[in-house]
């Protein structure tokens, strides 16, 4: 790299700091708002705790103690829907990815081979959910799955599978086939070779798929809104519903938002490289 001139370096840092401020300030605002008294929120903006306002923990106590059952219910609903669909997508996605990577398929009726099948699966990812949400409502209504965890889990699994298949197929393609073959020579069945040899080696791919499936389901809004109405409401829908009550209780919304984004933020911070890898893989290969 060449040496930069001093003005260029200053300019670089000015833009970087400005953008870092734009990225961070909303988070700071959300955190401080959750500790402000309503008067400190609703009159003029207050910026620094202990200097221009006195922080209070009332709102956190309200959400985590007084309304604990309610908060926990929605959090749990999100957790159940996200983790169950995450597990299902990983299992189904890695199986299909392995199949497409290791076997030759030929579907005579359409003349489809592996690549056609893979393309068909990934193209499902770009289907706008709004185009299929109505039959989902009718179908789930018929099966009595509206407002149940199972309904949400099924819907999220469907939307996660294409991505899971895509990433896992790529991953298995990059895995040398020799190990499985030697295991097979030693008398292991296909299934044993898959479980004992292939899966442990593909842990990084599985983690990436699991992360994305979980985050997608955790953040999903449209289906949760349409398919739940009381018992199975997830965090995003609960949070979005808070705006319609009299006035906006910014302090509760801020605190709840922080509770909601905490798992994803933690995952994101600690497993950042898997997320980067997943996005890069999705884009570079897609």
């Amino acid at each position: 790299m060449r040496k930069r001139s001093i003005p260029a370096t200053i300019g670089l840092y000015v833009i970087l700091l400005l953008w870092a401020f734009i990225c961070l300030f909303p988070f700071y605002w959300m955190i401080t708002t959750s500790f402000k008294r309503p008067l400190d929120v609703n009159r003029v903006p207050r910026y620094i705790p202990f200097v221009d306002y006195q922080p209070v923990t009332d709102h956190w106590e309200f959400l985590l103690v007084d309304e604990q059952a309610k908060t926990w219910r929605y959090f749990r609903n999100s957790l159940i829907a996200a983790s169950a669909s995450c597990v299902l997508s990983v299992i189904i996605g890695s199986m299909a990815g392995y199949g497409l990577s290791r076997f030759k398929y030929y579907w005579a009726r359409l003349g489809w081979r592996n690549d056609n099948i893979a393309f068909w699966i990934i193209s499902q990812r770009f289907l706008p959910p709004a185009a299929v949400v109505i039959p989902f409502i009718l179908f789930f209504n018929f099966l009595r799955l509206i407002d149940t965890h199972i309904g949400l889990i099924m819907a999220y699994t469907v939307f996660n599978i294409p991505f899971a298949v895509w990433i896992m197929r790529d991953f298995f393609n990059s895995l040398p086939i020799d190990l499985e073959e030697s295991a097979r020579v030693d008398g292991a069945s296909r299934w044993q070779a898959f479980l004992r040899i292939v899966l442990p080696l593909s842990a990084p791919g599985l983690v990436t798929v699991a992360l994305f499936s979980f985050i997608f389901a955790w953040n999903e809004f449209l289906f949760a809104l349409m398919l739940t109405n009381f018992d199975a409401i997830t965090m995003p829908v609960y949070l979005a519903g808070m705006k319609s009550t009299k006035g906006i209780d910014w302090w509760y919304i801020s605190a709840l938002t922080l509770i909601m984004v905490a798992p994803v933020m933690l995952i994101g911070l600690f497993l950042q490289r898997y997320i980067v890898r997943g996005l890069a893989a999705g884009a570079l290969k897609g």
Binding site: A118, Q124, I161
Partner: protein, 341 residues
């Protein structure tokens, strides 16, 4: 998509074509769950949706009776209410001015939003590509907005752009007072970010961009890091200036990944609903309403499932047309670039 064909599956164990019985069972076992799930929950609903869209399916029978009876060709049960087959929903589509507004807004979000996100994302990616102290810190910080749930990003945006309590509003007031004192005239600066029908769509774009610029930055940075330094060195030796380096090297090499990133973001943008729902609820009036939002409103507030399904198909057709045209153009652009380079 474009590069699908160059990822060849590894040859199966039995290249000669004589699969063992075990293998022929196993290959079905491995693939069929995914195919079955997608058929049952993706293709089948799509066909069903097509079916629903040609009926007068309503949540409550009374609402259906309120409108003028349409010519029917048969009847079907829908959510326990009788519904008729009719093309009324499709006849209504071109005359529905709210739908046209929603389509226009959606296209606005896709075109303006993705352009903004791409330009700023590219700028930030090029900055992060430089070498400087604290690069790891800035990379992490720049990713943070993407980790936020879209609903949460909507609330945050609303707090930032509120015309009364937000720091931005106070900042505007301060500048207004300052200018008043300076000029002696009555100066009042107050941009109605959320309450003005002309400004609100831009505010939606700003909030969405805040959240998704990191996505662009991340992908473009990955692309930039794949360009070897020697390429730049060679060009500099030949006397290329910074502008030429960007136009002749960086931009063309980034073109494929740029197109993919733009396609992914555009397709996501067609589905935009969470942020709008939280910040404006589609208002003021219907000035920020997206197509998905209108579908949701038609289905849940009006209970008109038939029309909602028909609109879902409008969205699907828009997405398919967009993706097809986009892929055709990008294939041509990439080929051109290969031809020149």
């Amino acid at each position: 998509m474009a590069s699908l064909s160059d990822i060849k599956p590894l040859p199966p164990a039995s290249e000669t074509g004589q699969e063992s019985r075990e293998d022929s069972i196993f290959k079905r076992v491995f693939l069929s769950p995914a195919v079955a799930v997608l058929l049952v929950f993706s293709i089948f609903p799509l066909l069903w949706s097509l079916g629903v869209s040609v009926t007068t399916c309503q949540r409550s029978a009374s609402a259906a009776g309120a409108e003028a009876p349409a010519p029917t060709v048969g009847s079907v049960m829908c959510l326990g209410n009788p519904a008729d087959f009719s093309l009324r929903n499709y006849e209504r589509l071109p005359t529905d001015s709210r739908l046209l507004t929603a389509i226009r807004n959606t296209l606005f979000y896709v075109i303006v939003g993705v352009t903004v996100q791409y330009c700023i994302g590219l700028l930030l990616a090029m900055l992060l590509q430089q070498e400087f102290v604290g690069r790891r810190f800035f990379r992490l910080v720049f990713l943070l907005p993407m980790m936020l749930t879209p609903v949460a990003a909507g609330y945050v945006g609303r707090m930032m752009f509120d015309s009364g309590i937000s720091p931005l509003a106070q900042f505007q007031r301060t500048i207004g007072t300052f200018l008043s004192n300076l000029t002696g005239l009555e100066v009042k600066i107050s941009v109605p970010f959320i309450t003005d029908p002309g400004v609100a769509p831009f505010t939606m774009v700003l909030i969405d961009s805040w959240q998704w610029i990191p996505f662009m930055t991340l992908l473009l940075l990955a692309g930039l890091q794949a360009i070897p330094d020697e390429v730049y060195e060679a060009a500099r030796v030949d006397g290329a200036n910074a502008r030429q380096l960007f136009m002749r090297i960086t931009f063309p090499i980034l073109l494929p990944i740029s197109l993919t990133a733009i396609l992914i973001r555009s397709l996501e943008m067609f589905k935009l609903v969470d942020i709008i729902n939280v910040v404006t609820g589609g208002g003021p009036g219907t000035s920020t309403e997206s197509l998905v939002m209108y579908v949701y409103d038609t289905a849940l507030s009006f209970g008109n499932y038939g029309y909602a399904a028909a609109m879902g198909f409008v969205l699907l057709v828009m997405v398919i047309i967009f993706a097809t045209v986009f892929l055709a153009i990008s294939r041509r652009l990439t080929r051109q670039q290969l031809g020149v380079g």
